[in-house]
Symmetry: C3
Subunit: 269 residues, 3 copies
């Protein structure tokens, strides 16, 4: 399962030399590897934010890509670091839940706990395991080292609690999981939670001061400034302001409640 391709997801911030140090370590071990940034603007220590970005992005990459994720408030404590085979991809990350969203959505084949120091940097700092353990391990994986050589197999990983959708008769109560750079509010409501026989134009979607009648299909179909609800590119309900920012207009943050309602009579008829 050697791979020429490694992705990086961190909370180090754009332009951080810490990211470049990881790339240097990767390339010093495996000069032919290709490195792609998924994101370095995960909010500091936001493990759930990182887990969601990773889960929604990793599967677009080629089979056998190695994904390294470092959002690691517990660096230097006894939390483990894992390598895992999930779906068709390989992941390296601290055992703090960062891989638990992708592991819920794809088949989890195996997990090992990194213990074999032969594949680490000679000197390991207390504060930067991304550079000193995870990057060198990923570089060795990309050269064909087997996961099993990295340490003992383990049975489970830390799981994050992802806010779940509450269903009652005629209502879904969901949550804003993420806000993208356009200010679109991305929720935890998947379209298959909405009964298929309900006319989507008759749904009522509310969030903060927004009260939206009917779902639309794309941003461009209404006049600038209109608040719309639609299924976004990650197959989740989104609230957006056409050519504006729903986050600003609604003063919404991650964790905001979003309700989707329909007339249960219609559904039961």
């Amino acid at each position: 399962m050697a791979s020429r391709l490694i992705t990086l997801t961190t909370d180090f911030g754009q332009g951080s030399p810490y990211v470049a140090q990881m790339k240097g370590v990767l390339l010093a071990i495996h000069p032919q590897v290709s490195i792609v940034d998924i994101s370095h603007t995960i909010a500091p220590q936001d493990v759930l934010g990182g887990a969601l970005v990773l889960a929604e992005t990793c599967h677009h990459f080629p089979r056998d890509t190695i994904h390294v994720a470092v959002v690691d408030p517990g660096v230097g404590t006894s939390r483990s670091i894992l390598a895992a085979r999930i779906g068709d991809h390989t992941f390296v990350a601290p055992d703090n839940g960062l891989l638990s969203v992708v592991a819920k959505e794809r088949p989890l084949h195996s997990i090992v706990r990194l213990e074999n120091r032969e594949f680490w940097r000679a000197e390991v700092s207390h504060t930067f395991h991304g550079r000193d353990i995870m990057a060198p391990v990923a570089a060795h994986l990309s050269q064909g080292v087997a996961c099993d050589d990295l340490g003992p197999c383990v049975d489970e990983m830390v799981e994050l609690e992802v806010p779940s959708v509450q269903r009652r008769d005629g209502t879904l109560q969901g949550t804003v999981l993420a806000i993208d750079s356009f200010g679109n509010l991305v929720t935890n409501i998947r379209p298959d939670l909405i009964p298929g026989d309900i006319d989507r134009e008759k749904l009522r979607i509310t969030c903060g001061s927004a009260d939206i009648q009917g779902m639309t299909t794309t941003y461009g179909s209404h006049r600038p400034g209109t608040i719309v609800a639609l299924i976004g590119s990650s197959d989740r309900l989104e609230l957006a302001v056409v050519q504006g920012s729903a986050a600003s207009v609604l003063q919404a943050t991650v964790g905001f409640t979003v309700n989707v309602q329909w007339d249960p009579q219609v559904h039961h008829a």
Copy 2:
């Protein structure tokens, strides 16, 4: 016209997982391709800003580079998506004017409208054609697919109105087109609009509260804090504050008026 090199220009914001999703799609189709970011900090929906960045940057890349540009407020509506051969390069972008600046400055050889779904992702979302149409098309182009196979030829594309320079006797009235990260004000005034027999040290340049006597050649030639006017690296008149930000000092924004004046008697003499 296969190429190993693809550039990306978007308004997705730095660190956006949407950019990474496009890269995953590109690499999943063509693993050997090299991807270079031109910019992802185009202001949201600022088609003119994206068109200008693309026009001033693309020609520095090697012949046959494929440039993908996604600033696309009309995503999901009936606007077309184009592939075009302009100068020695290939471009993929929505037909909203994003390619019109580069097409005005370089020879426009051919335009096709993307219609052949064989080169798209199997599932196309309503809101992210950059990932689902433009990235896969660019990956196929980089593998040698011909533009003509992507859809029918068309004769024209949407043109943006770029603010033009007003010329009167002894005066050029121009506009700030862009503000760079140093706060330099980049205008639409090209140096060849200034009569060649005018002494550039005798020009008077005004913009907001700035009244500058004479053009200089570089930032470093005056004391920190001085407001200067010079021909910048994109061959346009720029206003700058030495080791400071002209945008802050002059509280200037894109669209600000800039005047260049000279004594018409001198010119006519």
Copy 3:
């Protein structure tokens, strides 16, 4: 000393098309080169900040990597541009001190002043030598051109004054050199300045309103919100707030004073 790998460190800002223009120039000359960004978020004109980032990051890259650094407030003036062989790496930068920190920490083998225009762009602007001189020179170096062919050897380069640590009996007085994206304060105090026979848990570290008793080893070992002092991943004393920002909590900036004290009796005993 040809190399497939070139890094870039600039103050151009994230998403700047100037960075992309440099990459285009590099790839147009040497299409097989790999380009890695170290950072483009050096504060504008902050030569010392750039010098420190470069020094702490460059040595993680493979032997013979070519590092191009452009923080260049004197562009267009008579300041020289240098290529230098320092340690196992090659550097290209203006002669304004940007290379002086790395040159103090690694063996400086040779310096040449760029004069041979054969390896520059045909047209050189007054304001963007990064694109017009440094990028083409680096591309030629990566193809195997020798430093000696670029211009005459010189004996010295401009040196920056890096704040030094004051030692008195029982006290080190240092300075915050940098603030990372987590808000950690990175100082100029190296651990070897602290006497080896001093119990690190008995050190007193003060900085602004912070008065910390004893050093810790990692961020994760105290409760969120605690202010801690530790040796960070660059082998320097750092002040951090666990899962928070020391820069915000202490309202600290680069240049802040940090004191480390111990009981000199203990040391002399």
